[in-house]
């Protein structure tokens, strides 16, 4: 029975970390007001607190005398398979795990990680939306959810190197830095690959790509599948170890950064290698003068704004670097949206949501909050440091027929390099 599997997983995952937070919840409903999916739909079931309702019920019934009493006297409903299907819908399709809700919770409950635990249970019960599961399987089998096989990788990298006339070092032993792209960039935004290569070369970085560790995206992490999450991260770590690098750079991908930088050490043994995000590296280069940018290079083309990604800014802290860069590139035309930085509104496409076709109406509806935000500052260009956000923006620009230019931060930096 699916419900039993889910409960077993929850019980296994419930430590004091989970329990103390569930016990702290007063069911005040404030988190709903922070959720873009609730805001855009008005569906109370999209309230973050409701997304962890299964976990709470399982915890209460298994671990608390009150819960046991309620079950004994049939005051509480047992979790059924229909419940599992329903929560699979709200936890996978109406949540990007952006964790904005935790910022408004008066009790400070970290709802994002708790929803991840719910996904772990749903994953064990095989209650993952078919589209997402297909992408996960694809990554398991061929190494990428977007069909980047070894051959495709080789030919794409070769093509980028030719097209942009740029050096793309591959499997260089003894390099300092391993750069791992996401297949979103490889397949959809190849200009980002060229841009990042150009910047690293200009900064004199001894870097390399790896055939083995060629995919930073972690769809296992989206699913909440621990085993695959580890396996996908291990591909990157073992490549890094073999090449003997000192640093792993995650390119413009958010969830991957959360998994690799902020989660991996708690799931597995990880090598002593620094992990950083390209946004942080760019900031460092600019600050130390390793690369020089043309001041005002982006001025004169209308207002430019920056979209903060949940995993790179709110949960990754690379908040200041993009702003330092944009203040050089567009001192006159850079404007902030409100709310911004760690309180930014999510793009609505992360957490695997964009991979699920069924979730399209929810995803588009929620993006309208972003449209309002961008239109309020009258931006013509929206910059961001996350390819998943960028995919969502690009898709929505088409869907809503918007006249914005959507740009990756690396691409803007590369275009403004003083050579």
């Amino acid at each position: 029975m699916k419900s039993q599997t889910v409960i077993n997983t929850f019980v296994e995952k419930t430590g004091a970390y989970v329990a103390a937070q569930l016990e702290a919840c007063t069911r005040c409903g404030m988190c709903a007001e922070a959720c873009h999916f609730y805001q855009s739909s008005g569906n109370p079931e999209f309230a973050p607190v409701w997304k962890i309702e299964l976990l709470r019920r399982a915890y209460e019934q298994r671990f608390t005398p009150v819960g046991k009493f309620k079950v004994a006297f049939k005051l509480d409903k047992p979790v059924t398979d229909e419940d599992i299907a329903h929560w699979s819908f709200i936890d996978y399709q109406a949540c990007t795990m952006c964790n904005k809700c935790s910022m408004v919770c008066p009790m400070g409950i970290n709802l994002g990680p708790l929803i991840h635990t719910v996904r772990e249970g749903l994953s064990d019960a095989q209650a993952v939306p078919a589209d997402l599961k297909a992408a996960v399987n694809k990554q398991e089998e061929i190494g990428s959810p977007l069909g980047v096989t070894d051959d495709v990788f080789d030919s794409r990298i070769e093509w980028v190197a030719d097209e942009w006339e740029i050096e793309m070092p591959m499997d260089v032993k003894g390099a300092d830095t391993l750069v791992v792209f996401s297949s979103i960039e490889i397949m959809k935004f190849p200009n980002n690959l060229a841009a990042i290569a150009k910047i690293l070369n200009a900064a004199g970085e001894k870097w390399t790509l790896s055939k083995k560790g060629r995919e930073v995206v972690n769809f296992g992490f989206y699913e909440g599948n621990d085993k695959l999450t580890k396996e996908f991260m291990n591909r990157v770590f073992s490549a890094a170890k073999e090449l003997g690098v000192k640093k792993i750079v995650v390119t413009e991908c958010g969830h991957a950064y959360d998994a690799l930088r902020w989660t991996s050490a708690n799931l597995m043994d990880v090598p002593e290698i620094e992990i950083t995000h390209i946004a942080g590296l760019l900031g460092e280069y600019v600050k130390s003068g390793r690369i020089k940018l043309k001041p005002g290079a982006l001025d004169g083309n209308g207002t430019i704004t920056f979209h903060d990604a949940c995993k790179i800014q709110r949960r990754g802290s690379h908040i200041q670097e993009p702003r330092d860069i944009l203040n050089i590139l567009a001192p006159k035309s850079f404007r902030e949206m409100t709310p911004n930085k760690e309180e930014s509104i999510c793009c609505s496409g992360g957490g695997g949501v964009i991979a699920i076709k069924e979730a399209d109406p929810i995803r588009y509806a929620s993006f309208e909050l972003k449209i309002d935000q961008v239109n309020k500052v009258g931006a013509k260009t929206v910059a961001m440091a996350c390819s998943n956000c960028r995919l969502q923006f690009t898709d929505c620009v088409q869907h809503f027929n918007l006249d914005w230019k959507v740009a990756g931060l690396s691409q803007l930096v590369a275009d403004a390099l003083v050579e």
Partner: protein
């Protein structure tokens, strides 16, 4: 029924039992949660967890009640913010700084502290009661709260509301029979004390955990919580 003896019972043996249940119950709740085990965080911090925790509490306790618009969500659900804040403020002031309660603390602990002038306490108590009513209505109206509210939430509300109203009625001599009101107040307080460990009213204890977890998670990542 003889109210005088009821009062003696409610403020005597029943109160002592209730207090004992409260302390034992809360200790059990705490131990039960901690016994589930805490995994060490092996991820290398970028910022300081301690700073994050400090900021998390500062925002929660110091900043939030005074500058509600710190959070953008304030405008979307002002009742929960204002009534929730006013209720907690009133409750704490009455319990810890009301003259009558300071005497209770003195007899319980052997020492006590200053109390606030009666009119201030009185207005805050009235404010807390009004806030409770607002929160009640909010739970009936707000779509999310409607979904979240079940018998447990209503019971919690009632168990907290009764001692507040009876205490307020007592200080204002709503009816001449002071002992009757006092007895009702003490009975409802006893029920509350016993009810707390069985319910979500115990959140005041876990607040310190969740706020610390939140602060350390953000601090570790060098993001303002």
């Amino acid at each position: 029924m003889n109210w005088e003896s009821t009062l003696e019972f409610a403020r005597g043996p029943f109160f002592q039992v209730a207090l004992l249940v409260f302390i034992a119950g809360m200790t059990y709740r705490l131990v039960a949660v901690l016994a589930l085990g805490w995994k060490a965080d092996k991820v290398k911090s970028k910022g300081s967890k301690v700073n994050g925790i400090a900021m998390s509490f500062a925002k929660g306790i110091l900043i939030w009640p005074f500058i509600p618009w710190v959070k953008n969500t304030f405008t979307r659900n002002p009742i929960t913010y204002l009534a929730g804040g006013l209720f907690h403020l009133g409750l704490f002031v009455v319990i810890f700084l009301g003259a009558a309660h300071v005497l209770v603390w003195k007899s319980l602990l052997g020492f006590a502290w200053f109390s606030l002038p009666q009119p201030i306490v009185d207005w805050l108590a009235a404010g807390a009661i009004v806030a409770m009513i607002a929160l009640f209505i909010n739970r009936l109206v707000n779509p999310v709260l409607k979904l979240l509210t079940g018998p447990a939430e209503w019971l919690n509300w009632l168990v907290v509301f009764l001692p507040m109203v009876s205490g307020y009625a007592m200080t204002h001599h709503v009816i001449p029979e002071y002992d009757t009101l006092f007895a009702i107040h003490m009975l409802t307080v006893d029920v509350l004390l016993i009810w707390i460990p069985l319910s979500r009213i115990s959140h005041f204890m876990f607040y310190f955990f969740s706020k610390a977890i939140h602060g350390s998670d953000f601090g570790k990542r060098a993001v303002t919580p």
